[in-house]
Symmetry: C2
């Protein structure tokens, strides 16, 4: 299109893009030529209404133009028919029908943008810009001609090339089987769901419908953890989460932590296959639940993005994880994977749905860590940030825009309430917060599902609905930290006796002691205590976490970080103060500790909604320096020193400004429980 | 490598390629730099012995050099060890170990060439040059390094890139699952079976073995016909056919010919699926039989090439063929297809095996016709050649290097012995040749499996083994033509009575007559006759064939062709003279009628053994002009005129020079069988 300086000037907001176009140019055409982000599924035929725009009239001194009421063409019959039938918001026009007559300012509302921004609740996290790999395209296909015979697929490909500039295309047999009826039923007009590979490989037709088919396309963001599997069902048009759900990973019955599952695979012929089958079955059930909850057709799920640690990654793919159990911890494959969902036996989605699995960083630092990096963007941070994803294994990332390091540390499942005497998963009735009065040594607590403290009036009655059943991960962390602050626990991790602490809540348990949080026995409930064994489990977990962070700080050559981000399913529930009292994380000002929620899950959502983010994380992962904790001799040193609460040698000056920890010691010379178990575990 | 004019001169035979190389250059290296076709699987490590060459010594005046005995280096320890262990033919050296010392002439024997020519029996057919898509490659892979963690697959890819210049690679999950054990068992050396796409798409690792694995790789060339499925099991290294087999297409129970199968799909919900399942099951059985016969592991079959007509094509792929039953006969897809064998439920091959299906030319002219074009190369012919592939449907191609036309004609299965009263498939005991004495009207015949005529001594005893069971396709053609030559059949296709013909072998059958070829009833065998109904069936078939050929000749603007090639499973068994007496093919000198045997099957073998041939036929198919017989009014005219034997109006001057046909007429005014049925069939 040749333009002249006398042609009308068109200015698009909010982009600010501008250009001159001959009178009669459709607004959609102008937008496309200027690269303005204006959606269209039907290709400008006045069918899909995705290209709605709002012309603005009047004086625009900022832009130096005045827009008259007749700046756009009158309503034509197509546009009028659309409005009469479906309705249009006042002031809105269809960008493909309204043509430019005079200088005009045109606003593209967010819902008309393909690459709309998704506003997220957590302020700290990045915004998601929609750029899904799978989108709908409406096309008109030439009818077959006996004098120039070509297949229907070949004519559909030609139409997609001519009308949408999509060149390299594949269609599975399942789509091919639907093609001929769809073309005829739609009178040679069809809507296709098209998956475009972010690496520039051939696009893939995932589904086809007769005529213009106004349907949502959906995707799954799945965080496949050792203990829980969490999934979000998202709308691929606007990123909205329609349903979220989590289930226990059924592989738990083969082994609580990663290493015991690897052992199961090593010791049992076919054991890896059993675990693969179990997790795939659980995934199908989980997805089925999500579609039922959201009330959508499973055949409209076209994509699933997975993040997981390397052992989960291999077991999901049907690969024996045995090499991940021994140095040098070689992955079968570390790059990202794009494959049909059917290959993972994912049957509760469209039969042609595509799976994307983020790349792994190393044998102990998986796609989940990559997802955390994608969500938290340490490689773009100006200050030095430590990102800790707390789960059964902790993924730790330290870095800024100059350099990023990563490692994984075997914290075990204690932080998730497992291996804790009264531990349980986070569910209604679980104690999630604990406070202990330093003077009286009396505790008060809150349970999940109830918005009041245990010492408030009416608590007992309200709690009767769920009962008080145990302590969840965040509860045990608070309990142990509060015990330390109240002088019930000494720095070495010993619980004092009733005599030493002056409270009958400390009760003898063999040669050690336990602290009573809640005695439900009179009412037939449980006795909930924190035992010496619980303390040891927490010490092992937090030492591993701290030692991993220190190892990265050594490698980076720093003694201090600027900022800590707590991620992980329960990262959001850990109070920074308690985490620091425990010595889980390096000393830092409390207001520099942020919670990122389930950052791995967020990373999965970003990769689901934004195809370019896949390319980004693949690039970033290449640049991350991986540290292998298992072979670093200093890890062991750091681990031992970190056993004390908060730490044997490292000063915690920032913490000291907020909390003063009582200087108690309950060692009477007889107890040696901790060391022995620690040695055994690291052996 | 910099070379100087004083460096030794190396001349390779038979290619004649020559160049100078520094002293010490391995022969394999020199061959590669000159583009000489010298095989190597191990990449020059002295393991695979595929690079064997023979130095020639003495004077070579033609090349202007003299080769001394020390032109190549002495045997090194690797080469000596190989010879001691495995043996080498006298005079042979390993090209990767022997280095160049002085001027030398080096012969590359055929077995050391990758692109070796496959000598074929039929002189008329083209030679196959080996260039298989799937080949073995031996690679050394870097061990995992914890300080630079990458997946085993990523290191294998790097090795294939560095050692074999293969860049873009994929591996299925099935291969990924074998990768880690294979690398460790092979001490970081593995052999992979690699499939390279002829369109330049990513290569695909189909299998992996520890260390250097000296195995054959095999492929299938499958001609999937409406009536029979024929398959060859070929060695992908040298093109050798290790086993061939054929089975009836089990879809016959759903309908004898193509249109009745399309009808079955239209009339029965799920009917297409039933037929798909039936043919896939038959294919698995067929392949299983082939591997058993050849004694090879089914997991070593890595490729299968299919040729078939459009209806078989769609049913194989699981596509409803309904559109192929009605104008405009639109194919779901016409391009060639490359897909995993697993998608076709082909389970008796390697789990990652790849299928290639040749492109279809049009809705009635399928991948089988494309295969015939690939085998017979009409597009490279200097003279005008008519290629006729006779089967249940006849594919007809007419052309030369300037232009190629193609059509399909519905001959029905009469030529294959079906719909013939005493017809049967070609099997021992079937009459395959017939001669009738024009004077006595007495027949003599031969049966399949016996190398003598029925009037020879000892025939009866010898035939007792199989019995005389019926007439096969070539037998019925000869019988009808001989009846015409002997004056038993008139030009309109009427069989005379005993009185009219003067032989008691003509017996009454209702209002018509039949000619007795063999009366086995006294011995408890069948009465084998050619009935008036059989004649009508043959007339319908041959008229369709002739009319198709004439339609192409009209379009080409010619009255005569230079050459006729008879292809098809039984094309080899039709005598040109009898075909022409029948008027199956246009008049041409008898020595210009050639038989190409199963040209479609040969085309499949070519595409199996030569990857570049796939690109060639895809290009050629684009250039072929398709003629749709069903909508050409002249087809009907040609069909009616061709009903007479040999023809109502077209002169057959070439035939007249060899055979003089008696001018008889048996029409007594009462018979009208032929016309009525003919009209019914074409309605």
């Amino acid at each position: 299109m040749n333009t002249e300086s006398t042609d009308p000037l068109v200015i698009f907001t909010p982009s600010g893009k501008r250009g001159r176009f001959p009178v009669g140019t459709p607004v959609l055409t102008a937008a496309r030529q200027l690269g303005v982000d204006l959606d269209s599924v039907c290709g400008g035929r006045g069918i899909c209404s995705r290209c709605q725009i709002t012309p603005a009239f009047g004086d625009f001194p900022k832009h130096g133009i005045t827009v008259s009421r007749d700046a756009l063409s009158d309503w034509n019959s197509t546009e009028q028919r659309y409005k009469d039938k479906r309705g249009l918001i006042d002031g809105r026009r269809l960008g493909c029908q309204a043509t430019i007559q005079h200088d005009v300012v045109i606003d593209v509302p967010p819902e008309s943008q393909v690459h709309k921004q998704v506003v997220r609740k957590a302020a700290s996290a990045r915004t998601i810009i929609m750029d899904p790999a799978t989108r709908r395209f409406f096309v008109e296909v030439a009818e077959p001609d006996m004098h120039d015979p070509t297949g229907d697929l070949e004519r559909l490909k030609r139409a997609l090339r001519d009308q949408w500039q999509i060149d390299d295309l594949r269609a599975d047999l399942a789509v091919l089987a639907k093609l001929q009826p769809a073309l005829r039923k739609g009178n040679w007009q069809v809507t296709v769901a098209l998956h475009q590979d972010h690496r520039g490989g051939p696009a893939r037709i995932l589904d086809i419908w007769p005529g213009y088919h106004d349907t949502g396309l959906y995707g799954l963001a799945i965080d496949l953890g050792s203990t829980t599997i969490a999934a979000h069902l998202c709308d691929l048009a606007d990123g909205q989460v329609l349903a979220s759900s989590g289930v226990m990973n059924p592989q738990i019955r083969f082994g609580e932590d990663l290493m015991s599952r690897v052992s199961y695979a090593m010791m049992n012929p076919g054991g890896a296959g059993e675990m693969t089958e179990a997790v795939r079955m659980a995934l199908n059930g989980l997805v089925q639940g999500l579609t039922t909850e959201a009330g959508i057709d499973p055949a409209l799920i076209f994509e699933a993005v997975f993040v997981c640690n390397p052992v989960m990654h291999h077991l999901l793919l049907g690969l024996d994880p045995v090499e991940l159990g021994q140095a040098p911890f070689a992955l079968a494959t570390s790059d990202s994977l794009s494959l049909p969902a059917a290959q993972l036996d994912l049957s509760t989605v469209n039969e042609c749905a595509q799976v994307y699995i983020l790349p792994c960083i190393a044998g102990h630092v998986g796609a989940d860590a990559a997802a955390v990096a994608l969500s938290e963007q340490p490689h773009k941070s100006k200050d030095l940030v430590l990102v800790v994803d707390v789960g059964t294994n902790a993924e730790i990332i330290l870095g800024d825009e100059s350099r990023v390091l990563a490692c994984s540390s075997p914290t075990g499942p204690a932080f998730e309430g497992a291996q804790i005497s009264s531990g349980q998963r986070a569910a209604p009735g679980a104690i999630e917060r604990v406070e202990i009065d330093p003077a009286t040594k009396e505790p008060r607590f809150r349970i999940i599902g109830l918005d009041m403290w245990s010492d408030e009036d009416g608590f007992a009655e309200a709690a009767a609905a769920t009962g008080i059943s145990g302590i969840c991960g965040s509860g045990i962390i608070e309990a142990v930290a509060e015990m330390r602050m109240a002088g019930i626990l000494d720095p070495s991790g010993l619980i004092g006796s009733a005599e030493q602490t002056g409270t009958p809540r400390c009760i003898a348990e063999g040669r050690t002691h336990a602290y009573t949080i809640w005695d439900g026995r009179p009412e037939g409930g449980p006795l909930i205590t924190v035992t010496q064994g619980d303390i040891r489990a927490i010490q092992l977990a937090k030492s591993a976490l701290y030692a991993g962070a220190r190892l990265l700080m050594d490698e980076m050559g720093v003694d201090k970080v600027d900022r800590v981000v707590l991620a992980g399913a329960f990262g959001a529930h850990i109070s920074p103060k308690h985490a620091m009292v425990l010595g889980m994380i390096p000393d830092v000002a409390l207001d520099k500790v942020q919670s990122a929620g389930n950052a791995a899950g967020t990373g999965a959502r970003i990769a689901l909604c934004n195809s370019a983010a896949r390319a980004e994380i693949e690039r970033v992962v290449q640049q991350i320096n991986k540290i292998e904790t298992a072979i670093e001799p200093r890890f062991q040193e750091h681990f031992v020193a970190a056993s004390a609460i908060p730490h044997a040698t490292d000063p915690f000056p920032e913490l000291a400004q907020v909390v003063s920890l009582p200087d108690v010691s309950f060692n009477t010379g007889g107890d040696g429980a901790g060391g022995g178990r620690r040695r055994k575990r690291r052996g």
